[in-house]
């Protein structure tokens, strides 16, 4: 594959960069050992008392012992998880935030209101009453509120589980247009506009060489056709081209949008298991419904092996059909989420060390990893599409 070269050289560079980063950090640790004895602890427990970092940490649960500290874990997880707000700049009431609509399917039917009703409270302390029902938001999820507040003033009950606090309140079905949904719908609109416009330029300039956006996208379309679909699907490729192209450009667009740090990017759409599982289920459904009899025969009654082996292999093969899409979903989700966590962690180094002097290194590495993430955005779209094509190809392959 053409990408081997890129992978190899990039991997080496990444290794070099990380070695440098780790070396740099160890030097820093020694230097600040006296003033910052906790910095050698894992980042999620590192507590640095600082007034400016404290301002960013107000979404940090009701945990009293970390009230003034900077909780890296919750900060990062806040950024990679879905949200009912879309912050354009600033923070909370001091910034400019897009309040996304909340759509709930409750016990008493559909309830809609703006997320501004929660007044940025994410700890379950702000109760919203609609249609005689009371809702609170905690960790960006909507719950039915308790009748009375607990000792922290929150209308939710917590349970300690695996060292994390889990809200036990009942949730209504949440069909809100969240940050992820908004970003994804935006990418759908952009993709549809982009590709219908180049489709019209194809019909306008029929038989002529591509021009403008068309000439930028055509090599990518041809890449999907010639390097993804054809090698894996053979002569049957054309029936699956719409799916493969759509998946490829949808994932790529959302990956890239996720890397853009400001509105309308920044939502971790492809790093959300919901989206990746929807896509993986689509691939699974295609392989299941388009699979020919050879494919099913290989699963339930493997030819060329003794009968006891056939019986032994059938359940394994059947599980194999499920693990493929699950691996697809988790691979994309984990890669993109990991990239976001990495970039955020590098930026958080400034707050962990509580020093402005770390900022240049931190930003340098964040930019470097950000650029690699652009490569990863493409590669993950490519891998998802290739594996989808491969699985479909296995299901529709002719046996001779």
């Amino acid at each position: 594959m053409d990408f081997n070269q890129v992978f190899m050289s990039k991997v080496k560079k990444v290794i070099v960069a990380f070695t440098l980063l780790i070396a740099f950090l160890s030097i820093k640790n020694d230097t600040f050992a006296q003033v910052d004895t906790v910095s050698s602890l894992p980042v999620d427990t590192a507590v640095t008392a600082t007034h400016d970092a404290g301002a960013v940490a107000n979404h940090d649960g009701g945990n009293t012992e970390k009230e003034k500290g900077f909780d890296i874990t919750s900060f990062i997880f806040h950024h990679i998880s879905d949200s009912h707000f879309f912050t354009l700049f600033g923070h909370g009431e001091h910034g400019f935030t897009l309040h996304l609509p909340i759509i709930l399917w409750t016990d008493q039917g559909l309830v809609t209101f703006s997320s501004s009703a929660f007044k940025f409270n994410d700890d379950g302390k702000e109760v919203v009453e609609k249609n005689g029902q009371r809702f609170v938001m905690a960790h960006n999820k909507i719950y039915y509120a308790n009748a009375t507040p607990n000792e922290h003033g929150a209308f939710v009950s917590h349970v300690e589980k695996d060292g994390a606090e889990v809200v036990t309140n009942v949730r209504p079905l949440d069909f809100s247009i969240t940050k992820n949904v908004f970003s994804m719908l935006l990418s759908v609109v952009v993709l549809v506009v982009m590709f219908t416009s180049i489709a019209s330029s194809y019909s306008k300039r029929n038989g002529k060489s591509p021009k403008g956006l068309q000439s930028f996208l055509e090599p990518i379309i041809l890449f999907v056709r010639d390097d993804i679909a054809r090698p894996n699907l053979g002569h049957k490729y054309s029936a699956f081209m719409p799916y493969l192209l759509s998946v490829f450009f949808f994932i790529w667009m959302n990956n890239v949008l996720g890397l853009v740090p400001f509105f309308p990017g920044g939502a971790n759409v492809t790093g959300n298991i919901a989206l990746t599982s929807v896509l993986a289920v689509c691939t699974y459904l295609i392989t299941t419904f388009k699979g020919n009899k050879h494919y099913w025969k290989h699963i339930f009654w493997m030819p060329g092996v003794p009968v006891p082996m056939k019986i032994f292999l059938a359940p394994l093969e059947l599980i194999g059909t499920l693990t493929k899409p699950i691996a697809l979903a988790i691979r994309l989700f984990a890669n993109i989420t990991a990239g976001h966590i990495l970039v955020m962690s590098l930026l958080c180094l400034i707050f962990i060390f509580n020093s402005l002097w770390i900022a240049p290194a931190s930003i340098f590495f964040a930019v470097f990893i950000g650029l690699i993430e652009f490569l990863v955005a493409f590669i993950q779209a490519f891998i998802f599409t290739t594996l989808s094509a491969l699985f479909i190809g296995m299901a529709v392959e002719d046996h001779h």
């Binding site: 879905d82 719908l185 019909s203 379309i221 989206l275 599982s277």
Partner: protein, 164 residues
């Protein structure tokens, strides 16, 4: 672990959005785009094939031309050769004919000469006989002037006759 549990709302929205995207793009984008790309590739292939054919045709025509030239040259040579043989044969024929004609003429001339000779000879004979007769007459006249001599001759002649 929150990260690994898909939200129902997100699942629903994602499914709707992706299926909508798939439908719209498949209908309004991929179909015309792929068709157009396919057609263009086809036309490029066709054009290349045609160019190849034209090249072959060119080569064929060139070789045909060369063949024709060669053939023409050979024909010309043949014609020249034929003309030369024809000329030679005509020349020979003419020579032969001339010879024959000449010999015929010579023959004729010979015969003519012979004839002339004969005629001349005959004439000469005639003249000789006339001359001899005249001479004989004159001789006889002179010899037979006297009577005795005439009688002697007659007697002589008679003697000869009797002998015969």
């Amino acid at each position: 672990m929150d990260l690994l549990v898909p939200e129902v709302g997100l699942l629903v929205w994602n499914s709707i959005a992706f299926l909508l995207l798939l439908f719209l793009l498949a209908k309004f984008a991929w179909k015309p785009i792929m068709k157009s790309i396919h057609e263009r590739e086809q036309s490029i292939d066709d054009a290349l094939n045609k160019a190849e054919l034209a090249k072959q045709e060119m080569a064929r025509l060139t070789s045909q031309n060369q063949d024709l030239m060669q053939q023409a040259r050979a024909e010309r040579d043949e014609i020249l050769k034929q003309a030369k043989t024809l000329k030679d044969s005509i020349l020979n024929e003419a020579k032969k004919q001339a010879q024959v004609e000449g010999s015929k003429l010579i023959e004729k001339a010979k015969i003519e000469i012979e004839n002339q000779k004969k005629v001349a000879l005959a004439e000469v004979k005639d003249q000789v006989s006339t001359l001899s007769l005249e001479i004989a007459e004159r001789v006889l006249r002179t010899q037979l002037d006297d009577k005795s001599k005439q009688e002697a001759l007659v007697a002589n002649l008679l003697k000869d006759v009797e002998l015969n």
